[in-house]
Every structure is written in structure tokens, then in C-alpha cells.
């Protein structure tokens, strides 16, 4: 009886993986800007969720819970990558992500995106710090409330708000040349 129950819950988990893999991929991609990273992060998110399933209290939906784990994993990845690079090169905490992105060759999916919008917006996003980018993605694309972003990223509400605000300011500055030509 117990074996069946275990396998049933495993099948439930499989259904959850299948349902949430794609939305989580989008979130991780938006935070990291890399599809290979995003795939690894989706896997990490599910493994973490499985290990911590007892901690899921049902107050948020399962999808929201997964998104929180995924955002955290993504932020952790960017930070640890920066720490490694800082250790190698004596880098600067406030250095934008653009100088820290891995120099990987673009995958086929990635090449298909190289249109003008991408060429303009991605460098703008890469100007943000990891925290600013993660907070911005959660606010802009996931529609998370500021308190929820703060809880998700383990910071004070004021810090989360400030990160979103700084992100928007920086993005607007980066887009100014484009915005002018479009007027």
C-alpha cells in the first residue's frame, strides 16, 4: 500500500514538473539571459522543491512557491558566478552583469532571437545588478507584489522597492537613445 502511495505522489510530482517547467524556464531565462543556465536552474528548482516538499505550507499556490525557489536559485547562480569572477579578477560588487556573463557561444534558440529588440533591450538589462534584475523580472513579468519580492529574496520591503526603482531608472537611461529616435 505504501509503495503505491509513494509512486502515486511521484506521479503527481511528474505532472507538476510537466506543468511548470516552461514557465520556470521563462523566469530563469529572464533573470540570467542564458538558456543553458535557465534549463539547469529549472532542474535545480524541481530538485529543491522535492527535497523541501514538507516545507510547502499551501499558503501560496504550488506554482508561486516554485517561482520563488527558481528566482532564488537564479539569483544565487548569478551571485556565485560573480563571486568566482571577483576572486579571479578583484572585481567590483556594483559592476553590471554585462561584464560578468559567461562567454558561451549562442545556442540555436538564442540565435533565432537576434533581432533588433533583443539587441537593444538585452544590453540594457545586463546593466542591472543581479538583485535589481531579479526584482525587476519578478515585478514586471511575474507581477509579484513588492512584499512578496522581499520575502522571496530575503530582503526588507524597502530594499526590494529600491531595487525595482533603480532597475527601472537604469533601463530608461539605457533606452534613451532608442526612445528619442522613435519619437
Amino acid at each position: 500500500m505504501n509503495g503505491t502511495e509513494a509512486i502515486t505522489s511521484r506521479e503527481e510530482f511528474q505532472a507538476l514538473v510537466e506543468r511548470h517547467a516552461r514557465p520556470l524556464f521563462r523566469l530563469a531565462y529572464r533573470i540570467t539571459g542564458s538558456d543553458t543556465d535557465a534549463e539547469d536552474l529549472v532542474q535545480e528548482t524541481f530538485l529543491k522543491a522535492w527535497r523541501q516538499i514538507a516545507k510547502f505550507d499551501g499558503r501560496a499556490s504550488f506554482g508561486t512557491w516554485l517561482h520563488r525557489i527558481c528566482a532564488n536559485c537564479s539569483l544565487d547562480l548569478l551571485r556565485s558566478r560573480r563571486r568566482r569572477q571577483d576572486a579571479d579578477s578583484g572585481g567590483d560588487e556594483d559592476e553590471p552583469m554585462i561584464n560578468r556573463l559567461p562567454a558561451t557561444s549562442p545556442s540555436p534558440e538564442r540565435l533565432a532571437l537576434s533581432d533588433e529588440i533583443t539587441r537593444t533591450l538585452e544590453p540594457a538589462l545586463a546593466e542591472l545588478t543581479e538583485m535589481e534584475r531579479t526584482a525587476f523580472v519578478l515585478r514586471h513579468y511575474d507581477g509579484m507584489a513588492i512584499e512578496e519580492i522581499a520575502v522571496t529574496l530575503g530582503v526588507q520591503t524597502g530594499a526590494a522597492k529600491h531595487s525595482v526603482f533603480r532597475a527601472v531608472q537604469k533601463l530608461r537611461r539605457a533606452l534613451e537613445p532608442v526612445a528619442r529616435t522613435n519619437v
Partner: protein, 226 residues
């Protein structure tokens, strides 16, 4: 009211009126200049809505499950099924998988595949080691008070019996080093189950558990199984 700052506009855009300064929306409705600034903000931020995200290949979900499934063998059962005696669970599992399956007899229900059997047994062993580890830790932390000892000894005996039930499978399909750790744990558990209530016995038992970093080895083997 003065014109709205960029911060006010961003607050209005992302958080609505409740976070923006009082009168901000009202001002926005009547001030052409702020209205233009607001429109410009919306236009730039809406550009980000069009930023494409690569669509993973159609097999993405299946591939992701294949990457996650090997680790998803042992549901967190301790909390959910705490009301079931652990020994009964394991005994039933082992019986279902190993014992009640004479090769010559037709099986009414769909038989478990070898892979499923292996998974259940691995899960069972991991769970067994998890409980062994907890029990050994409790033994390590007992005060020299024999009244604490009896329930712990009963659990030790359960684990020894359980391991005996698993023997057949363990000897066939288990890594030698895993088997060595199970054997070592069994010896200590047998000692623990039969220890007298004398403080000196308990002290010696704790020392035996501490020696050879048995707890550490059990944890490593268990982690590798999960």
C-alpha cells in the same frame, strides 16, 4: 502640487495609487507635462513586454522529468506518514517486492518492473538508514538514565529485524561499501538493543557509536542513495 518625480511615476506604474504620494493620480489627470512623462515611462517599460524568450524544444518537459526523476525516488515520508509504524511500512514493502513473488506463479496485478522494484528497495534502504542515523544520534545524546533506554532499544531491535528482512536483496544488489556500512550499523544496533541499563553500558555504547565515525558513514551512504 509640484510635478510628479520619476519615482512617483514608477510607483504609480508598478504599485498603483496606494504607494504613490497623495494626489498623484489627480495631478496626473490634469497636468499635460506629467502626462507626457508618464506616457514615455509606459512606452519604455512596455518595450520589455516584447522581449522574446526562447521557446524550449517540444521534448523539454519530458527531458526535464528525466533529469529530475532519479532524485525523486524517496518522498519525504517521515512527516506525512509519521502515524504509521516505520517497521510495518518497510516490512510490507519488502514483502511486496521480494517475498510475495514466486517466479512460477502467475501474477494477477501488473508485475513491478525491475526498475520500479529497484527504486522501491533503494528508497526502503535509504529510509532504513535515515532512521538508523536518527536512532544512533538519540543514543549518543541519552543521559545516563535507563528509563530513557527502553523505547530506544525497541526501535533498535526493529531496525535489526528490518535489516534481516532486507538481507536477501542487499546481498544481491547492493554496493559492497553500502553493505559494509549496513553491517557495521547492524552490529551496533544489536548491541544497543541488548545493552543493560547500567550507566557504564550506555557510556560504552556511546563511545562505540562515536568511534569509526559510523554516523558520518551512514549519512554519506544514505545521501548517495537519495
Amino acid at each position: 502640487m509640484n510635478h510628479l518625480s520619476e519615482e512617483d511615476l514608477i510607483l504609480l506604474y508598478y504599485y498603483g495609487e496606494s504607494d504613490a504620494p497623495e494626489g498623484a493620480s489627480e495631478h496626473l489627470r490634469t497636468c499635460t507635462e506629467c502626462n507626457q512623462a508618464n506616457a514615455a515611462l509606459h512606452a519604455s517599460m512596455e518595450m520589455f513586454d516584447t522581449l522574446p524568450v526562447p521557446e524550449p524544444r517540444p521534448s523539454f518537459e519530458a527531458e526535464m522529468w528525466a533529469r529530475v526523476a532519479p532524485a525523486a525516488v524517496a518522498p519525504r515520508r517521515r512527516s506525512r506518514w509519521a502515524w504509521l509504524p516505520a517497521f510495518a511500512i518497510t516490512a510490507a514493502l519488502i514483502a511486496a517486492v521480494i517475498l510475495v513473488r514466486p517466479p512460477s506463479q502467475p501474477v494477477a496485478a501488473a508485475p513491478l518492473t525491475d526498475e520500479a522494484r529497484q527504486r522501491i528497495l533503494t528508497m526502503t534502504l535509504a529510509d532504513h538508514l535515515d532512521r538508523t542515523q536518527m536512532l544512533l544520534t538519540e543514543f549518543e545524546n541519552t543521559a545516563d538514565n535507563p528509563t530513557d533506554l527502553e523505547p530506544l532499544q525497541a526501535r533498535a531491535q526493529d531496525l535489526v529485524d528490518e535489516s534481516r528482512l532486507m538481507r536477501q536483496w542487499l546481498e544481491k544488489g547492493t554496493q559492497p561499501n553500502t553493505l559494509a556500512v549496513v553491517d557495521e550499523a547492524d552490529r551496533i544496533l544489536t548491541e544497543a538493543a541488548n545493552a543493560g541499563g547500567h550507566p557504564e553500558d550506555l557510556r560504552m555504547l556511546r563511545e562505540r557509536i562515536g568511534a569509526d565515525s559510523l554516523l558520518f558513514k551512514v549519512r554519506v551512504v544514505e545521501a548517495n542513495l537519495r
